[in-house]
Amino acid sequence: MTAVELGMPTVASDPHGHLRGTESFPRAAHRALADTQLRRNLGHATRTIRAKRAAVVGEVDDWEELRRAGESLKADTMARLPELLVQLEEQVTGRGGTVHWARDAEEANRIVVDLVRGTGADEVVKVKSMATQETGLNEALEAAGVAAFETDLAELIVQLSHDRPSHFLVPAIHRNRAEIREIFLREMPGVDPSLTDEPRRLAMAARAHLRRKFLTARVGISGVNFAVAETGTLSVVESEGNGRMCLTLPDTLITVMGVEKVVPTWRDLEVFLQLLPRSSTGERMNPYTSTWTGVTPGDGPQTFHLVLLDNGRSNVLASPDGRQALHCIRCSACLNVCPVYERTGGHAYGSIYPGPIGAVLSPQLTGISGPDDVNASLPYASSLCGACFDACPVRIDIPHLLVQQRAAAVAAHTRPTGQDLTMQAAAIAMTTPGRFKLAEKALGLGRVLAGRKGRITGLPWPMSGWTNARDLPAPPAETFRQWWERTHS
């Protein structure tokens, strides 16, 4: 008897789903950095989107006030999260929807799989949703014999090429038009063999491919951008119309949302519908935003289920600073401005949440289990340059959270590492002026290493990381301290 027959998803070996990769960031980055095609694709795409974002943000005189409003609304939401969720549940239920609660990814998948089975459908259409990527819903559906069709263009590219998403907004950002054309020609049934790599032609091919699916689908699955507690109204922000198709045409709609997506009132969308599109696609407004409340007789799906997902979010909420990571509205602006993300791409982060926000969100969602946990490497995947904070539409202090998560990684050291010993020794020297002076004297050794050439060009590990690509100057003949004593005493 197989696991499928037992009704157990085979994919959820980790009940958290796709929040943890299999190797540390530096190891994964090593491969990505050597992929010249990836580097060029990411460089081009992030440069394009940075320029677009800067232009449309520049149009808004009260952008900083909107950011502060977004920040405070999210903070207020977190301070009242359980009550707001109960209110949301009441409103959705009152309007004919059914609300389900899931402790983790595995439970969310089980709920959705059971609901789909209950309809008798063996196919579903999906609008891109981070929450269901997080839970690995597609694999769970597949294991249960249900085919899930991703309908967002980039998500379709990822699905057709058996790849993994690498960006919140554009999961196939690591692919260029020529690669997308090849994927379509290879994987898309019935595709026109004369397809060119013109983006408009590629978009048309996706339209033709999915049209029948949309018009005949019985079950749609979506995520949520904002869920209004006050009214029970849910919203999906999108561009292509695939979201509208999934939300409107099927008989049954199943929506999965992380609990942090709730906002207190309808009015709050006046802030978020300004912040999100400009930060995300760099547009004044995205082509389509849909809002719906429960079931509307005569319009759209007549059966509606909302699955509220915890999956580690309560861990994040428990940290007074760290909970800011739950403020994220998944715009991806921090990815697009991050010099690390631009060079390594999203796969290097392992978790489906990449980039600066992923580097602070993923380890908080999963917790850091010890020094060998690959998620412990994520907070170090940053030069702390701070570009992410400036770009964040809700002012998440990502650099501070990175430092905080580094501290969490250090606290998870179950045995002292070499780095621990170095840092402790340095701290002792730095609190004892006499020892500090002695340590400076020891630097004289560096002059021996440098020799007559005045440069240090090779050092043993871990400093070889530096000297593999950069020289290190010889320590000076005279420290500042010595100069001061010589000239000022």
């Binding site: 006030e65 409003a69 969308l269 004044r284 007074p320």
Partner: protein
Amino acid sequence: MNAREEVLARLRTARDAGNPATPVVVTRDFATTGRLDPGSAAVLERLDETLTDYKATVHRVASEAEIAGAVVGVLGEARSIVVPAGLPGDWLRGYAGQVRTDGPPLAVDELDAVDAVVTGAAVAIADTGTFVLASAASDQGRRAITLVPDHHVCVIRAADVVCSVPEAIARLDPSSPLTFVSGPSATSDIELDRVEGVHGPRRLDVVLVGPG
């Protein structure tokens, strides 16, 4: 404990552990009224620009009486159209093709077979080039009719044009489905360049009624 009780219990514990010492104050120091007056010639002009920028085609008419001429003009060769049950009959005066009224509701395949849809709009936002369709409004209709046909003609009256997003949100009732539309369907998924025309209507015409 069932999942609901357990998740709520976890969240309550976490919330209490993580709450900041000082209570959160929500600030709304941003502009809640627009730079341009609702319905003014200036706000219509800005809407014209922003709609056009995102590849909608805008047709300006001065009065209600001119709507039909503009609508019939943009429908051009369309052999059949669908309209919501409450669309003012005047707007189609002179249209020679087949008009299918969505009441009783048409099947999806029937919607797929028509060439265009004509609707009104609940509100339009000049700053962003957006109009909003309210499912409950009789001249806008259920969501499917503006989704499946490949050509959407939307009539927007000056009185429904505001400048900013906050002004629009304040006018809208979320209890029935709403669709915010900003240009024809588009995607930025290939190298983050925006190209128009994916699953939603690939052609969008706006008839803008008012001074200008």
